[in-house]
């Protein structure tokens, strides 16, 4: 069970370093959406989506670590438990106002650690990195949900997520139905995050897997989810802020997609073990 099969050629950024980048990066980026509340605008909503992308990159590397032990259940299961425990932590954390991102991380760590202890000591997976990996994955899932939710409605606070405005006969009326949670957009965000986190390593695993290519695909999936959330955000935040979110996500997606294709070509070429036939000078 606990025989580690190192996937990929090694090298790249060490996992611990990525954990720090991911944790600090997503925390800072989520807090940047609070500029909306400070300045009274909605232009900074897109930082939430960027926080989700950073968290997804970190989560993909964690999944790679966990799945190199051979779970026997497929890579997507790790993504599912990440978002399943993450969504509970994210919504609980959101109720704590300005402290939301930090509380979210703490609650997610608790839920993830319990799941990890259960997996290792009761279900007896006996995988050395199980507890720490499920803890990391729960935090990643929580930050993804909180980030995308903050992007969609402009705030990471619970009251902002359950209230929306609708204009009836020219009057703006507060309603609970046209809100992020009232409209069940949170369920869409849940699935967008789950698909983004479980796809990258599932698609890239195998001999010849390279960390930079896998993580680039993770960023690409994150931006793809961001595009959808940006379109959703037209319903909740102003036209210009939502347009900024959409532009940021589309530009990010195009960049990461072209980079991913370039990296795929590089690795495909290296894998072929064949050199291109050069045209002799002066014609054959």
């Amino acid at each position: 069970m606990s025989v580690k099969i190192e996937a990929g050629a090694g090298g790249g950024i060490p996992h611990n370093q990525l954990v720090i980048y991911g944790l600090v990066g997503s925390l800072v980026l989520i807090y940047l959406t609070y500029l909306n509340t400070i300045t009274g605008t909605q232009y900074f909503a897109f930082f939430g989506g960027l926080a989700a992308v950073v968290a997804l990159i970190w989560g993909t590397d964690t999944i790679k670590h966990l799945c190199s032990y051979g779970l026997g259940t497929g890579v997507p299961s790790a993504g599912m438990i990440a978002l399943g425990s993450g969504v509970i932590a994210a919504l609980f954390g959101a109720t704590t106002g300005i402290a939301a991102p930090i509380v979210t991380i703490i609650i997610a760590a608790i839920i993830g650690a319990v799941a990890g202890v259960m997996a290792n000591h009761v279900v007896r997976m006996d995988i050395p990195v199980m507890i720490i990996s499920l803890t990391e994955l729960a935090i990643v899932g929580a930050m993804t949900v909180l980030g995308l939710a903050a992007m969609a409605c402009g705030t990471f606070e619970f009251i902002g997520m359950i209230t929306g405005e609708i204009s009836i006969l020219g009057f703006a009326v507060e309603t609970y139905e046209f809100s992020l949670i009232g409209g069940s957009i949170i369920a869409v965000i849940f699935m967008l995050g789950a698909i983004a986190i479980q796809h990258s390593f599932n698609a890239c695993l195998g001999p010849g897997e390279r960390q930079d290519r896998t993580l680039m695909l993770a960023a690409e999936c994150g931006f793809l989810s961001m595009i959808t959330v940006a379109i959703i955000s037209f319903a909740f935040i102003g036209f210009i802020p939502a347009l900024i979110s959409l532009l940021v996500s589309v530009i990010g997606w195009i960049y990461t997609y072209t980079q991913y294709i370039a990296l795929s070509k590089r690795d495909a070429y290296a894998w072929l073990d064949a050199q291109p036939i050069l045209e002799p000078k002066g014609g054959a």
Binding site: G84, V122, R124
Partner: protein
């Protein structure tokens, strides 16, 4: 394991460690005390309901014939996908059924959830077998038992060499439907308990009527039920490690471990769901 009422374990299965059991019991007790502290008897009943729901999900997943990648190549019996995907499908279908029937009262809603989950698995299993038999041209043969416990059909004559069996025998079909029904039942129970809590608490916190707050309460309960469903389903999947043919598979006897894990995980996730609204307005 016999002390916990479970069946005798097969040789290769390791029983949970003492530390794991102790942590689990402590966490469940702490969660129950906190639930009583947050919402008195209503909270306690809700948390017990959530734990029962989680256990039903963890137990139900073991019935579902999961084939994984080998099944897609016709080299193992079962449905050709992972546990998490199948459980999510059955659980969500059950939740839809249960949520639709929620206004009709607890028994009908639970029945609706069970029928929803069971129906999805019945359709899935039937279509899987149609594809196996008429599309891939392979007969249904279990690799784990020589005779179908229900129909009495024998398998070894039909089993191809070098495979663990293939197709979807009748016992696996029955297991799939039972698993889907249990999963749908458990998911709906979690949903209904959380819905009760939120519909009682949200109007007083936000000073509105139950009708105005209904979309928020339904959405919160729904997304939490899905989250807990996936947590429990994945823990059960880790217990199965890969493929299982259904209730006749020797791996089925491992279920007590998943039941304990699901109970503890649901208790911890449940207490955060029940306590969700305690901090609204505090900060």
């Amino acid at each position: 394991m016999s002390a916990l009422g479970g069946p005798k374990q097969t040789g290769g299965v390791q029983s949970p460690t003492g530390m794991g059991i102790a942590i689990g019991i402590v966490l469940i007790i702490v969660a129950l005390v906190l639930a009583f502290f947050f919402a008195q008897m209503a909270g306690l009943i809700a948390l017990v309901g959530i734990i029962i729901g989680g256990v039903l999900i963890g137990f139900g997943v073991h019935f579902v014939p999961v084939g994984g990648a080998p099944a897609a190549m016709g080299q193992a019996p079962g449905i050709a996908t992972g546990v998490a995907m199948l459980a999510a499908g059955a659980g969500l279908a059950g939740l839809f059924g249960g949520a639709w029937a929620a206004p009709l009262g607890l028994p009908l809603a639970l029945a609706g959830g069970a029928v929803g989950g069971g129906l999805l698995m019945a359709i899935t299993c039937t279509m899987v077998n149609i594809i196996y038999v008429f599309g891939m041209g392979i007969p249904a043969a279990s690799g784990k038992v020589a005779k179908d416990p229900i129909t009495g059909d024998t398998f070894p004559e039909y089993k191809s060499q070098g495979t663990e069996g293939h197709g979807l025998p009748f016992i696996s079909w029955v297991g799939g439907v039972i698993g889907g029904a249990l999963g749908g039942l458990g998911g709906t129970l979690i949903y209904l308990e959380l819905l009760d809590i939120y519909q009682a608490q949200l109007p007083t916190i936000l000073d509105t009527t139950v009708e105005q707050i209904a979309p928020v309460a339904i959405s919160l309960a729904g997304v939490f039920a899905v989250g807990m469903f996936l947590m429990n389903a994945v823990l059960a999947a880790y217990n199965i490690t890969g493929t299982i043919e259904g209730p006749h598979d020797p791996k089925f006897k491992r279920f007590p471990r998943a039941v304990i894990a699901a109970a503890v995980a649901s208790a911890v996730a449940g207490i955060f769901s029940i306590g969700l609204l305690e901090l609204v307005g505090v900060f």
